[in-house]
């Protein structure tokens, strides 16, 4: 069952056309890796899904509901956009943890704020917040950071920060978890711990879209690979197909460059 | 939407500017006398300046100008409202009606008489040259090329600018006459040109400036009270001055404060 469908997505920044006619779909429990050179539009695509950019054309459908249609202003109302963002989680390249909060609070803050909107919040405030605390601790345990709950972001390594970011995104139980080059800002020694966590999520059949330069990782973890080039999906298929037997010339060129480097 | 907001902003600006309308009719026609009598008080601008307006050891606000003003206000049937002002902005204060007159040992100068309505002279003054005791001084020629000081915008400054010899001295303007005194005492200026009345009060035995002496009298001058240009109060106060001269009040005050009355 397709949990995500992207149709005819286009995006321009001024005169520069960054996305041209993007079409793909994603099934529940599937992991897609998006690869391609800088400027191919990978990050813009991810940002469009999370409503951080507004596409000029196209539709985005989640769980058979049209959450975005460039032709229909009703789908673009600011008040609704906030709720729609919750379908997705986003892990940024440079983590974007909140520096003034502890690791635990970073993970639980958004949930605590959303809890206020619950109908039974006032009566059960203490219980709700308590539950959120416990859930947060558990998630951090899952990513291997139960001993860092009271630390501040500047006190932990980049890899640890990114793992906190993953826990923070997971907390809100998004339908689709997006990663924007999650290890590109990390030292090589630290990428391993983050990739391990993502691997674990893939094993649990978390629905994910991962933009990455880690080719081996992409091949190992994803169910499908999309190669983007100059705003278009140049090629897509299973990891073995795209990495082992690329059909398009551009794909071959790109992969050769990466093998050499 | 944006156009109508810009239009609104333009209209609002116009409206704000029109708030600068006349308060009541054309105040030039209205009599200044009626104005202060209507307010039941006359706001008198002064600076702390012995012996004209100052606070004595007992904490009483007094002085020649203070007492004279109180007497005049009694005749005008208004309350005297003494307001301490900044000498630099006295003309602006007067024009803006935050004071109704400048009554503080104001030297009558042609430019001032042209810009404000000044009463006839009531006290005589001179600009004097003061130096540190022991300085060589014959006449103003002795100061050519030396550093001399006076208060900015004062009659002393004007005297320096008009004297052929002092023109050739190195003149530095000071904010206050007392700062000028300080410079002479400190030796950073050879001489200062100040009001006689001030010099009398502040230099010599018993003051901070024991070693400062008066060596020359220049530019004799006279004091008057200044009102807004075109004010009818000046003429009214002149009449009252005549009365106070006739009944000896002025003479008594002059003696009390060691001043010379104008002829």
């Amino acid at each position: 069952m397709a949990i995500l469908e992207v149709k005819n997505l286009e995006k321009c920044f001024g005169n520069l056309q960054v996305l041209r006619n993007i079409n793909f779909s994603l099934d529940k429990g599937e992991s897609i890796a998006i690869i391609g050179s800088s400027g191919s539009g990978k990050t813009t695509l991810l940002r469009c899904l999370n409503f951080l950019e507004k596409p000029d054309k196209g539709t985005i459908i989640v769980n058979d509901e049209v959450i975005f249609d460039a032709m229909d202003p009703a789908t673009q109302l600011e008040s609704e956009v906030r709720k729609k963002r919750l379908h997705f989680g986003l892990i940024f390249q440079n983590f974007n943890l909140f520096p003034q909060y502890t690791v635990l609070k970073n993970v639980t803050l958004a949930a605590e704020l959303l809890a206020i909107e619950r109908p039974n919040y006032k009566q059960n405030k203490k219980a709700i917040l308590n539950e959120i605390q416990n859930q947060g601790k558990e998630l951090l345990c899952q990513v291997g950071l139960s001993d860092k709950l009271d630390n501040y972001p500047h006190q932990i390594s980049g890899g640890q920060q990114q793992r906190v970011a993953i826990a923070r995104a997971l907390f809100l139980e998004p339908d689709i978890l997006c990663f924007d080059e999650p290890t590109s800002a990390l030292d090589p020694e630290l990428t391993g711990e983050v990739l391990k966590v993502i691997r674990g999520l893939a094993d649990q059949h978390c629905t994910m879209v991962i933009v990455t330069h880690e080719m081996d990782f992409a091949r190992e973890v994803s169910d499908r690979v999309i190669f983007m080039d100059e705003g278009l999906i140049a090629e897509q298929g299973s990891p073995d197909e795209v990495f082992g037997n690329p059909k398009e010339e551009r794909t071959k060129q790109f992969l050769t460059r990466y093998k050499k480097g | 939407m944006k156009k109508s907001i810009s239009l609104f902003l333009a209209l609002a600006t116009l409206f704000a500017l029109s708030a600068c309308g006349n308060s009541d009719a054309d105040s030039k026609d209205d009599s200044d006398l009626s104005y202060v009598q209507g307010n039941k008080k006359m706001i008198i601008g002064y600076t702390d300046y012995a012996p004209m307006n100052y606070t004595d050891e007992n904490g009483t606000f007094t002085g020649f100008d203070t007492e004279l003003a109180i007497a005049v206000c009694e005749e005008l049937v208004v309350e005297p409202d003494f307001v301490e002002i900044n000498w630099d902005t006295k003309e602006v204060e007067l024009e803006a009606k935050s004071i109704d007159c400048i009554w503080n040992g104001l030297t009558i100068l042609p430019e001032r008489a042209a810009a404000m309505e000044i009463t006839k002279p009531y006290v005589k003054n001179a600009q004097v040259v003061i130096v540190k005791d022991g300085t060589e001084y014959e006449d103003t020629a002795s100061l050519i090329g030396k550093t001399i000081v006076a208060e900015q915008g004062s009659a002393g400054e004007k005297t320096i600018q008009e004297d052929d010899n002092l023109k050739q001295a190195d003149y530095v303007a000071k904010m206050l006459q007392t700062e000028a005194l300080m410079e002479v005492k400190a030796g950073t200026a050879a001489a200062a040109v100040l009001d006689l009345t001030l010099a009398n009060t502040m230099t010599g035995e018993g003051t901070n400036y024991e070693d400062i002496i008066i060596v020359d009298h220049l530019a004799e001058e006279e004091y008057g009270v200044a009102f807004r240009k075109g004010s009818d109060l000046a003429a009214e106060v002149n009449k009252i001055f005549d009365d106070l001269l006739a009944d000896g009040t002025m003479e008594a005050l002059a003696e009390k404060y060691g001043l010379d009355l104008a002829e």
Partner: protein, 220 residues
């Protein structure tokens, strides 16, 4: 000796005027400065341009001149509005001039602080479903505060000394009071005023250092 105590007590009393002006200016100009900051960052073009022009004018002319314009303006322009009489009118006018002036200076400090928070912080809040208000108060605000403490401290210290400018419209603050003595030939009170400012600024310096220390638990 008696004179010494009299002078010190009169100086201290007049310094209260400086302190009063200082406190009132801060109380009103800080929130007002935040409003102006948002105006100068507005996405609505005309508003942004008007606000930035006003800030340019207020920061581009001497405070001393602004004091005179605000106090003397109504009288000189024959406006129907006039300041209350006596020393209270002059003090109110001074407060108004100071609040406008410092609000503009603070607004630029606030704007700089807000704009220097990385966009990623804002976006992280967005993808986690936070409202704009929540993002401002829960994410951005403390980061802005930490960034603006040093320049704000600077501005506050400048304000302490600027308060003596109120004497240009004859508010009898400490330096004008000391001037009364120097006009009688007594000079030391004028230089003694420096001590009052020095001590007060010292207290403020300690306060701002303490605030900076309190915020050292995280790095921006």
């Amino acid at each position: 000796m008696n004179q010494f105590y009299v002078i010190v007590s009169r100086l201290s009393e007049s310094f209260l005027l400086n302190l009063e002006l200082f406190a009132l200016t801060l109380i009103f100009s800080l929130p007002f400065g935040l409003v102006i900051a948002f105006g100068s960052m507005s996405r609505f073009g005309p508003l942004r341009k008007v606000v930035r022009t006003i800030v340019w004018i207020v920061r581009g002319t001497p405070l001393m001149l602004q004091l005179m314009i605000i106090f003397f303006g109504p009288g000189l322009l024959n406006m129907s509005f006039s300041w209350p009489g006596g020393s209270s009118g002059r003090f109110i006018a001074a407060t108004v001039a100071f609040v406008i002036n410092y609000a503009c200076y603070f607004s630029e400090i606030f704007r700089g602080g807000i704009e220097s928070v990385p966009r990623g912080q804002y976006e992280a809040g967005q993808v986690l479903g936070m409202t704009k208000t929540q993002i401002f108060f829960k994410v951005t605000l403390l980061q802005v505060i930490k960034r603006i403490i040093p320049p704000t401290g600077n501005e506050v210290i400048t304000l302490v000394k600027d308060t003596s400018l109120a004497r240009i419209i004859a508010n009898k603050e400490i330096i004008m009071m000391a001037g009364e003595y120097s006009s009688k030939g007594l000079i030391w009170p004028l230089f003694a005023t420096g001590l009052y400012f020095l001590i007060f600024v010292g207290v403020l310096t300690i306060l701002f250092d303490w605030i900076e220390k309190k915020l050292r638990y995280f790095h921006v």
